[in-house]
Symmetry: C2
Amino acid sequence: VALARTGRGDHIATQLAAIVGADGVTTGAAIAEEDTHDEALTASAVRPLAVVRPTSTEQVRELVVLAAREGIPLVARGSGTGLSGGCRPEPDSVVVAFDRMDRIVDIDRPNQVAVVQPGVTLAALDAALAGSGLLYPVYPGEMSASLGGNVATNAGGMRAVRYGVTRQHVLGLEAVLGTGEIVRTGGRFVKSSSGYDLTQLIVGSEGTLALVTEVTVKLVPRLPYSTTLLAPFGDLDALAGAVPTVVTSGVAPLILEYIDATAMTGIAAAMDLELGVPDEVRATAAAYLVVVLEATREDGLEADVATVAAVLTASGAAEVYVLPALAGAALISARERAFFVAKAAGADDIVDAVVPRGAVFDFMAEAARLATRWGAFASACGHVGDGNVHLSIFQPDPAARHELMAAIVGTALDLGGAVSGEHGIGTEKLEYFLATEDPVKLELMRRIKAAFDPDGVLAPGRLLDRGPSH
Amino acid sequence: VALARTGRGDHIATQLAAIVGADGVTTGAAIAEEDTHDEALTASAVRPLAVVRPTSTEQVRELVVLAAREGIPLVARGSGTGLSGGCRPEPDSVVVAFDRMDRIVDIDRPNQVAVVQPGVTLAALDAALAGSGLLYPVYPGEMSASLGGNVATNAGGMRAVRYGVTRQHVLGLEAVLGTGEIVRTGGRFVKSSSGYDLTQLIVGSEGTLALVTEVTVKLVPRLPYSTTLLAPFGDLDALAGAVPTVVTSGVAPLILEYIDATAMTGIAAAMDLELGVPDEVRATAAAYLVVVLEATREDGLEADVATVAAVLTASGAAEVYVLPALAGAALISARERAFFVAKAAGADDIVDAVVPRGAVFDFMAEAARLATRWGAFASACGHVGDGNVHLSIFQPDPAARHELMAAIVGTALDLGGAVSGEHGIGTEKLEYFLATEDPVKLELMRRIKAAFDPDGVLAPGRLLDRGPSH
């Protein structure tokens, strides 16, 4: 079997090299370890048949045609920063890595859009926008993430409470269907009622409908003033009351994060954070709210800060700290690393379920109860203004953890939520998704998949596990 | 043939009445004239087999099952305020009118969402939100429009420049597929990465994929302060320069409308508007910008007004009028009626093409040249901040007008735009859409249609003219 697979691998590698050049293909032991997984805590590394790195849309098209002819599944890979195994290879798959398609095609200031290849990272786009007065506001917290990967998972992040997620910023795509056909969807316009919104359908489809080869995103004005507020709460009920008041205040915070005491202790220690919170306040804090405000004018910002500080104080915050600029940036930067801090502390899985905003504290309370029941510990940190607080689950026993995860996901769904708020389903949440999604909708999605990819070339088995039944 | 059709009509009417009750069905001469068309200037009235008025999702499901069995096309109808013929009956169709499904299911303040049946009008929803501090911000300018109709066409309107269009506000749907299956998509949460976004696919699909039986929309804080600015420009190039400056100023106007001199004269006369613009300014004005600003605080609003007034003045506005509240409201109300003013003045068709923001003045200039070439006149009024300025076309000769419309749509597409920005394709823009859309995408959309509606029950012939070819 090993020999047969090697033989097939060689045969495929030759054909792949004919498309992308020999330096664009790796196979066997030459495949880099980092290409065999993403950052999901639970996903094991899987070595594919080959990893191929196209440099053009035409090469991607030829790869799809080859894959369809040879019956080889293709798994797309951006920067590999995903947390659900979305780019994890299958043993018999070819990974299409987009890091060589990393050209910023256009920064179009009159239309306030950027056009990028999928391998462009958020850091590269942000650098290209410096001085333009414009911002791509989606901020999943990992600037090495690629735009293509963000499109595949519909990435969210800390600024979603103000600006929305990737979906709300993608105006158009170029993509290769499973048929090998190339389509261009949407454009540099901000609205349209001209047929089905193929752009929105492809965003979040995790590489199962099409391989995205170009992304057109909407930009927003980069506001010059911002301030970070930090509010420790001794009482979780008081914090729970503060959140909707801030959200509906009209002030529209850029960031509204919840960090429980465990997570704050972890990131503060790991990142050497000095926020000026006295020990006695820290000792009694059950959790923290972090609010970042931004404004076009300094006086407007000051007024917004006063409004939010008053709301937080009236809601029962132990203190409200208006952080100096450097400390504020350090806190947000530390918050960005919360996942890696949890990972280093031994977290075994991450819950990314989303619930209606008003249900997020019920969700966290029930998750904590469930964690106790399964002999586990859960630490919470995340996008409380969006009903999407991530839970780091500490329970090394896979069976117990699995049952706990299923129970927590079930709680989220009972509260009217969904399995994933922003990380996607990937390989690691697929079981929970398939177990809980309406079978009628799964069949509908399978038929939609077949419309894009009739031969099942693109990440077969992902999201939907199989084709439509008839 | 008439007798045969009458016989079939009777047979169908009996079965329809068994589902919705006798008082929910009209046939033949009993069909109200207003049910035979929408507001599209070019659409003629068409009498369907029957008009049926369900009161529940279950009735809608039974109607779809009946229609599939009998091979009868179903055409959905909201309030009939559309401008593209989207709800125009076909002679052999049954119209499913949703005006009896007009219940506001829930105003959910903790989650900042409203859940409504499709027949709820924008006016009814706005009234239900009074005093809640929350607003459904989509404002197509016709408050008798229904939410279901807005979802079908992905309605836009004046506030889209600030808040986006219907698509950006629909969080979830209940809908009946062409198979008779009922699905619930999305929910009361604001983000998700859990499978294909069926909600976004159904929004804007003009009744061809599913019949929507419930809509969950996102609400925003209702800001207490607003001001309207009116800026006449003698020079169109100066006005063109002002628009991107306002859009990127960070002030985020609620409304940014362009009204050319002809349209302003028309609406001012029709609505008896007194805006305090002296005759000598009016005489030299080529066009006007209307900017509405809103804010959480009065001093913030004043600062924003000063910013925008300075931008407009620096850009070459002849004057900048900060209108008293009543005059501002009267102007926006008059702008809402611009379509009916144009209609009364004899307009023969409306262009709703959208282009990239930065191309909208090139588009209008070329459209004016084309109008002259075809012996027509075009008056422009609309959403300049979104690249979606509507053109009223005055050319009574159908053949000349048709050629002109095709040429103008072609110009929009050459500039990177799309056929419809917010009115939808319906029956009246279908020819332009089919002639210009990529055949690969049309075939893909036909396959998607087949995934939802394999028997072609829902508005067959709309958007895609036929099923997929194999």
